[in-house]
């Protein structure tokens, strides 16, 4: 398992290093790096990591896929890798084969809902859908009279209002108006929109944790280069303590995200313990994105605020990813309700369950 972890991640990291070097792509105003990167990732089978061989994917384990998302976060790659992985995973839940090309998932927020009518058509409006604009297909979770279904939808059938998140990546509003899916099947027992949101939230948590790792690296490196008041700024205690706090936030984010990923990868069902893990990861990683990102910018001073510098590629995406699949505020309310419902004396047993 550890070995295969390395192969998937090593393959991805090599592709990212060759085709998505942060400085190179930051200088490329035309985004001409995106197509070759996507092609290389696709040839390596990475976007469909979580899709079994017989459904058109490469059949990697959940654990491998999570490690891949963490690596993607370290490079803050602006292609729909996480989105296509999640879409493929969602379709595979209902044994629907994944097509080639970019995909994304609907809904991408716990507030939105797609409904399935008696004619088998899908309707609803979803905000903040990452990379909808460039997707060829949508993987859709829909609510009908008989429960939850999972569908594959041709993206050209949806109406898209284009938008950008704070990290300058596509975050679009998608409206389906009586759209007939390519394929639709009933979701497995117990699978619902919350399951999808928890899975999406853990994916985003791993990406945020990866971005924070890079923010720490970049900031440490810069503090050892930049001279002010006749010494390296890394020698100032105030700067050292700020970077120590950034290391703590980065470590906390990575710990929360990898723990949640491990919980999902080994879970039999999405029970209260997985809920605690996944919701906590999203909450804690979002907090770390705010606190850690602020320190990384403070260490860099004005240069980090320029579009030429790569810092914003990581800091702004980490902030943007907080919003997808339920913000930290959403999950905090839901987790708080769960804890209250279980009662005071059941809090510690829940926390100490792993």
């Amino acid at each position: 398992m550890a070995e295969s972890d390395n192969i998937v991640v090593e393959t991805a990291e090599k592709i990212f290093a060759d085709l998505a070097d942060p400085q190179t792509i930051n200088n490329d105003k035309k985004n001409s790096w995106q197509a070759p990167l996507w092609q290389a990732l696709s040839e390596a089978g990475l976007p469909l990591s979580w899709v079994p061989d017989d459904l058109g994917g490469s059949g990697a384990s959940l654990a491998d896929g999570f490690a891949l998302l963490n690596a993607a976060g370290r490079f803050a790659v602006a292609v729909p890798l996480a989105e296509t992985m999640l879409a493929g995973w969602l379709l595979a839940q209902a044994k629907i084969s994944s097509p080639e090309g970019e995909m994304t998932v609907l809904p991408a927020s716990p507030k939105d809902r797609i409904t399935l009518d008696a004619d088998g058509a899908l309707s609803g409006r979803c905000r903040g859908v990452p990379f909808a604009k460039t997707a060829k297909h949508f993987a859709v979770l829909a609510h009908g009279k008989d429960g939850v279904s999972i569908a594959l939808v041709d993206a050209s059938k949806g109406r898209i209002e284009s938008g950008l998140n704070v990290g300058y990546d596509h975050s679009d509003t998608v409206t389906l108006d009586k759209v007939q899916p390519v394929t639709i099947k009933t979701a497995p027992d117990g699978f619902d929109q919350t399951t999808l949101m928890l899975m999406g939230g853990v994916a985003r948590s791993l990406q945020i944790a990866g971005a924070l790792e890079s923010l720490l690296d970049i900031s440490v490196r810069y503090s050892n280069e930049r001279v002010a008041f006749e010494k390296k700024i890394s020698k100032f205690q105030a700067v050292q303590h700020n970077l120590a706090r950034l290391a703590g936030e980065s470590a906390a984010a990575l710990a929360a995200a990898t723990s949640a990923a491990d919980a999902i990868a080994n879970a039999k069902s999405f029970d209260d313990e997985v809920y605690l893990e996944a919701a906590s990861a999203k909450i804690r990683c979002a907090e770390a994105a705010e606190k850690g990102g602020a320190i990384a910018h403070q260490v860099h001073g004005a240069i980090g605020f320029t579009s030429e510098h790569i810092l914003h590629r990581f800091s702004l995406r980490a902030l943007a990813w907080r919003d997808d699949f339920g913000s930290e505020s959403h999950w905090a309310v839901e987790l708080g309700k769960l804890v209250a419902k279980r009662g005071a004396d059941e809090l510690w047993p829940l926390v100490a369950s792993r």
Partner: protein, 386 residues
């Protein structure tokens, strides 16, 4: 190579869960028998020698130590479970906690065999209490400024000087302390301190109580006047205590006591808001639980590193930094939310009494056992900044 520190997601093995059940059952019996009140977090002011012996009889002290010294040769993860269950229950652990956590491991590493055979089994039986003699009136975080002298004499050393902020010195049977045996050198200001085992409750040692802002008595001033320590009570290398201090820090700084000190107010808040909290309370509780869960997972991960024979000093410093800042803020965040609790909540008085105590306890949490500033210095060194 990335500077980020990894905290691998350790899962507690099955045998830990069996042990957890046993500890919970034991604590429930003790509570039922009136040994302590889990709603009263006064563990620091309570000496419970009989409870200590019963914990020892269960085999839960010195759990990880060799059997020949009275230990159980169990894992750090099993010890972790016992520690966190005791902490969450507000059990009166002061008599054995220091000995079990760090004094015993120091003795195992540096004491002569006959002393190990004498003292360690008594720790395991819960019979003896340890104190740590580090700080002095002019030497706190700057450990290597310690001045209390150990002067050579026939068959041992004479100790003269004062230790301060020494927790439990007034009930302790032994202290592990550092004394100055030589002056520091130009090349190494850390040189010249030696670690000693000190038998307390003898002439030449005067323990003076120091009142604390919580109204409790936990720490003391300890004055040594021509106090004799025999040669075989030297622990490790003469003048070389600085080499020994660092590896112990991982044990001392990463445990559940570093984020659970004020946990009881969170439980009580959940009780006060009831099963259907308003949005603000739910959001506040959810965040606190997420933060708590994350720290615990990091802390368990460090226990796993210790079990694997590593010395995760930087990782442990991160756990203590984040953990103690959190447990310090916790009573204030709970107070924010408690403002909206219904007047009719049945545990309102308990919550208020606990908050009162936790708010007074909070300031010490980021000072004891390594200040926040010292920890961030260690983390910065780990990042290659100094």
């Amino acid at each position: 190579m990335t500077a980020a520190l990894r905290f691998d997601p350790i899962r507690l093995p099955e045998k830990c869960e069996q042990l957890r059940k046993e500890v919970r059952a034991f604590l429930a019996e003790e509570i039922a028998a009136g040994t302590f009140d889990p709603h009263k977090p006064n563990r620091e002011d309570t000496d419970a020698p009989e409870f200590s012996r019963r914990v020892g009889a269960k085999g839960w002290l010195g759990m990880t130590w060799p059997k020949k010294y009275g230990g159980q040769e169990r894992s750090f993860l099993e010890r972790y479970v016992v520690t966190e269950e005791m902490r969450v229950a507000n059990a009166p652990t002061r008599r054995f906690f220091v000995a079990d956590r760090q004094s015993g491991p120091v003795l195992i590493k540096y004491a002569p065999e006959h002393i190990k055979m004498d003292i360690l089994p008594r720790i395991c039986r819960g019979e003896i209490c340890f104190a740590i003699g580090m700080s002095e009136p002019n030497s706190g975080s700057d450990l290597f400024a310690a001045k209390t002298r150990a002067t050579r004499t026939n068959g041992g050393y004479l100790i003269n000087g004062t230790k301060i902020w020494t927790s439990s010195a007034h009930i302790a049977d032994y202290m592990i302390a550092i004394f100055r045996t030589s002056q520091p050198t130009k090349e190494n200001r850390r040189h010249g301190l030696t670690q000693f085992l000190v038998k307390m409750k003898q002439p030449g040692i005067q323990v003076n109580p120091i009142g604390q802002i919580t109204g409790q008595h936990e720490f003391n001033e300890v004055v040594f006047t021509d106090f004799f320590v025999p040669e075989d009570h030297v622990l490790g290398e003469v003048d070389g205590a600085w080499k020994q201090a660092t590896s112990e820090l991982a044990y001392e700084r990463s445990g559940p006591e570093r984020f659970l000190e004020t946990y009881y107010v969170l439980t009580e808040l959940v009780r006060a808001v009831g099963p259907n909290p308003d949005t603000r309370s739910a959001e506040g509780i959810g965040r606190l639980v997420a933060q708590l869960h994350t720290m615990r997972r990091m802390s368990v991960s460090v226990a796993g590193m210790l079990q694997a024979g590593k010395e995760p000093v930087v990782e442990a410093s991160i756990v203590k930094d984040i953990g103690t800042v959190w447990e310090q803020q916790l009573p204030h965040r709970v107070r924010d939310l408690a403002a909206f609790v219904e007047e009719t909540a049945t545990n309102r008085e308990t919550l208020e009494r606990q908050l009162d105590f936790a708010i007074k306890t909070a300031p010490k949490l980021t000072i004891q056992g390594g200040t926040t500033e010292v920890l961030r210095g260690i983390i910065a060194r780990g990042l290659g900044l100094r």
